[in-house]
Symmetry: C4
């Protein structure tokens, strides 16, 4: 994930003047970075925890893992596109599509890990049904369509999903204690 | 390996317009990235597993390891060249040459690890004869020559080898369980 | 943290001529890099040690951790701005603001870890009251205001705080032994 | 160290044409990359091993460690300068100076670790007198002066030192077994 954060910071263009106005002009880019940082951070925390709780891995897990990482690695690419074209419908929808694919990758990884470790494993009880993951995926898919109505509706959904995940997750905490 | 993926994502140029046409124009670059991501991911998974299964390392292992990493680190360099010149014979052959050298590095690492851990070690039985590795190397060498007949023959071979490796590897799975 | 160092090195522009004069012209940038390297290195050492000493983590710890990493990741962004505009008041103050936010993130992380591991834990005794952390934060806040009087006053404070942290920390040493 | 390799690969400019002539023109840059890759790889292998063998660390060790990493992180900066100015005396000497400072950092780290772990520790016997490290340092210092006689004398010394380190190190091997 360090990869994605590195690339995103490199993409942020610094204001060319040392004025408040120039700093304000950089605000949308900085906020997009904040949103993406939170998204990547949440994924990373959950991902790390999940792999830690797993006793066994198999080919399907590696497959799902590569799938998830591939889509995560496209996040900076879409953000760059979003910034350069000024939050238009297509790049906004593309951002949602990449997040949706990453969410699918995450769910696939959960299922592969549970299938591999058995339904009675510590991991399976910690993961549960992952309603949160499924609802996030549904919201991302809705956002893809709504981006063509107005990009800011989609962006509001991305922010809302991030906030929902940012709140401490009781599942992880109780399993960690 | 994070290095290589970071660099590859940085190399992808975003479409300059927010249109479907612009996104389509980026498709070949995105597919090249997908292919390379899968290649690096496969190498990485096997590499990680192999070093994990090893009880001992010696100078020859470190040597082979540096050799492998050197050629892997040239992957983004060749991809950049491939993209900038539009899939011409020489860069396509160069891509095959780098993959072939990386495959040699991988085989050298296997041999060095087996030599160091002994033929009865867990590692030696897991690695076996690595027919898959040798066949991949042979195909990469063939692709280097065939790139001068037509670049797409070589690219088809690279894709085919990737797919063959992408299928879950029974050796690794059984050793991991 | 590797992220931040990578980005900072990429930002340093090399002198265009092979002369002593050209090398001297790069000196301010190299010194800024040295200062930031030391800052990031100190944060990193303490951070690593603290997470190592912790037995438990909870949602609040993850929250504080993400907060700290976010502000740390903005360090190269502010440095680039500082370099491009030639050490003017606003970017100098912004550098202090980012360091102050990172210091707050670090204190939050300490408090969250102590709250989670209990006041009798090894971690709590090692962290203590962290007067050094609080004083650093106060100095960074003072530097933000003083940057508008003269940027070099602020920069002198940043250097002084770095030196204070660079001296071997008795707390960490005794806990490590 | 991943940092340094990432940056170095990003610095390599790809040939703009798909011809053998264009590939040949990239050869000096590729060879400089090979040399630096080997240097960084050797440092990294020894560094990793040394930290692994250490039971205790103290403030002096962290200090020496930061010092070493700082100079290592300047390697890509000097290489870029070397490439852009076409192997002139001053940048060639600067490359030697950075390598010499990194070698000093490495020796300081060894001394700090031995001082901290005691002369009877596994680490102290493995490190020994490190005549190789001292000779390398002496050769780098000689190369700095000789770069002003002719850059290629200095470069020949850098290559020779790398080769000497590249040969499997009996100390490490025996300690690892």
């Amino acid at each position: 994930m360090a990869i994605i954060i590195t690339i995103m910071v490199l993409e942020i263009k610094t204001p060319h003047e040392a004025t408040w106005a120039a700093l304000l002009a950089s605000l949308p880019i900085l906020l997009t970075y904040l949103l993406s940082f939170v998204n990547v951070g949440i994924f990373w925390n959950n991902y790390h925890y999940m792999l830690h709780a797993a006793d066994k891995v198999d080919g399907a897990v590696l497959w799902a893992n590569l799938f998830l990482l591939f889509w995560m690695s496209l996040v900076p690419f879409v953000i760059r596109w979003l910034d350069e074209t000024g939050f238009q419908p297509l790049p906004t929808a593309a951002y949602g599509a990449v997040l949706a694919m990453a969410a699918i990758g995450y769910l696939l990884l959960e299922w592969a890990l549970v299938a591999c470790n058995g339904p009675q494993s510590k991991l399976a009880t910690a993961v549960g049904h992952d309603r949160k993951g499924l609802i996030s995926l549904a919201l991302y898919i809705a956002a893809i369509a709504l981006a063509f109505v107005h990009p800011w509706i989609a962006i509001a959904i991305y922010v809302a999903v991030s906030l929902a995940w940012f709140l401490p997750d009781r599942r992880i905490e109780s399993a960690r204690r």
